[in-house]
Symmetry: C2
Subunit: 346 residues, 2 copies
């Protein structure tokens, strides 16, 4: 699909238009003249397409920086070259973390006059691949992906600017995430503070339990240091809640645990429901701390990811990459998290 377009938000058209016009003073022609190359070559550099020698690449880059050239989105929209559309890929909206992340991102993009095209992959690899093709065919300006499935190769091949939430896709695609290692440690320190002795760690998938997973690394490092015994088990997060409940029941009954650490809040809700009628229910902890969970389950001890800040940064970085394709971004942006939920001691 091809969009050509004038108005992303008709009622704000004037404001929009003025932004576009303002930054149109330096054009791709000026850059080409300055660098002593053709307009087509500059275009290839901007869009990272076709062969460009290192020397030419550097010359064009230097000219763009010197002239402060910005391929402005609004201007390109007015010229019919931009779609002012950003694709958002999330695994599912069932988890309030993702519906909230989408809402925050959408609000940020709306403020900046972008429309959003939401793609829910439902953890189906083929669906995610189809949507990625669809986004390219729709000529979106860029993608924010918070996917969980393994469509890594396709992401690497696309020429579109991408920013990833939480998951590292490749060294070239910047990731924005909460500090999972610190979050894991905070949870484990809470376990220590409450004098728990026998811990079950329940994660969403086997992959999540790998030592490469920072949450697990933070949790287990503290538990080992403090010589607290622990057992791990995985509940595949893509399974229906009723299946997860049965699997959780089995895991819980493996031993008499006085604390159950869950690597996401939804698993924690299932475990709370399963254990609340025991004479001495274990401490159950979650992870993510979306507004929904904070509002409707204020007592749950969990790690709050700063979803608002994460969304703002995802949008800010993506817009930078769209407007300045040559910009060098960090590989990772890690934001602080915090422990929330009612303490036993107050």
């Amino acid at each position: 699909m091809i969009f050509h377009s004038s108005t992303a938000l008709p009622t704000e058209a004037e404001k929009y238009l003025s932004i576009g016009v303002e930054s149109m003073s330096i054009t791709i022609k000026d850059v080409a003249a300055k660098a002593g190359v053709s307009v087509a070559t500059v275009s290839r550099v901007i869009n990272s397409k076709g062969y460009i020698s290192d020397q030419t690449n550097q010359k064009v880059k230097a000219a763009m920086i010197e002239l402060n050239y910005k391929p402005n989105i609004a201007a390109r929209t007015l010229q019919g070259k931009s779609t002012a559309t950003i694709g958002i890929i999330v695994p599912s909206l069932e988890n309030p973390l993702y519906s909230e992340l989408f809402e925050c991102i959408e609000k940020e993009l709306y403020k900046r006059h972008f429309q959003t095209l939401l793609c829910t992959s439902n953890n189906q690899i083929q669906k995610e691949k189809n949507y990625l093709s669809l986004l390219e065919a729709n000529r979106v300006e860029g993608i924010i992906s918070s996917s969980h499935s393994k469509v890594l190769e396709e992401y690497k091949e696309t020429a579109l600017p991408i920013i990833s939430f939480d998951r590292k896709i490749s060294s070239k695609i910047p990731t924005v995430r909460g500090d999972n290692y610190a979050g894991g440690k905070m949870i484990a320190l809470e376990i220590v503070k409450r004098h728990k002795k026998n811990v079950l760690i329940l994660s969403g998938s086997k992959e999540d339990l790998s030592p490469g997973n920072d949450r697990i690394k933070g949790i287990t490092q503290v538990l080992k240091e403090k010589r607290i015994s622990f057992t791990t088990a995985a509940l595949p997060f893509e399974r229906a809640p009723i299946v997860k409940k049965e699997l959780a029941k089995k895991a819980i009954n493996m031993d008499t645990f006085d604390a159950i650490i869950c690597t996401d809040d939804l698993t924690a809700l299932i475990v709370c429901d399963l254990t609340k009628k025991l004479t001495t229910p274990p401490l159950v902890t979650g992870y993510d701390g979306s507004s929904f969970i904070r509002a409707y389950h204020p007592e749950l001890v969990t790690i709050e990811q700063p979803i608002q800040e994460i969304s703002e940064l995802l949008v800010e970085l993506l817009v930078q990459k769209v407007e300045h394709p040559l910009i060098e971004l960090e590989a990772e942006y890690v934001l602080a998290v915090k422990l929330v939920g009612k303490s036993e001691f107050n």
Copy 2:
């Protein structure tokens, strides 16, 4: 924005293409010839635009029916005249009812090779109006709206096919909804069955408490018949949960209630949290029964709206209206609801 387009889902392009070609045998020209009018007139009839006399309207309609003419979406997409895109307007994804409704609708549309453009109005009238303009500018094929705010005039003015969820927009826009009156009665009968004597009815807005609201009508009719005393109060649903919590606290403390009927599940969760530590907590009931609530709050007594069936019907009706603009649909499609949640008696 204008889309022209070839592929909605590249991987299924062949299947898609064959559907398109198959139904291209009868064209708008054939209809015009049969009816003895111009192609422009047939187009005006199809798109319900401009003045058409009743007589002409009937002639064209008869010709279309006789020739079995279908302005097929896939064919129009191939010709660059269709966008294969449907706009979905929801107030917010915070309520699991709406995130689930969106996911179900998206899955249905994906199966039928439509892409979706999600618009979250966040209960802001201006945002909803902007999005409605945006959808028109994007040339979406049609709209499914589950909006709550008062943008009625704008909806009436658009020429796009619209199907509404739950809320009646106008007599010309079909509504698909659960049977709110029956649901209200079921809740009240459960109150009767459990011998409750003093009931608080908490609704999302003052408007919801109007006698025109079918849920309230069903509830109060039964309570009056059974001579059970009740009090009503409204918690504006667009307020933050923390504000709603304070307002709920005041309402609950007005009297000693042994049952609190909430007209949505999220309000019920707040009330459950506020009352669970009382020595004799009141019965708290909700409404909507999304999968999320059923999975994570299985004990909540609530009315389950058939979201899957509602979504299928919304999509089916909208696609019918897109493919056969002259089709006469019912003003309302009302689906059965059911009482769910753990009973005191089992």
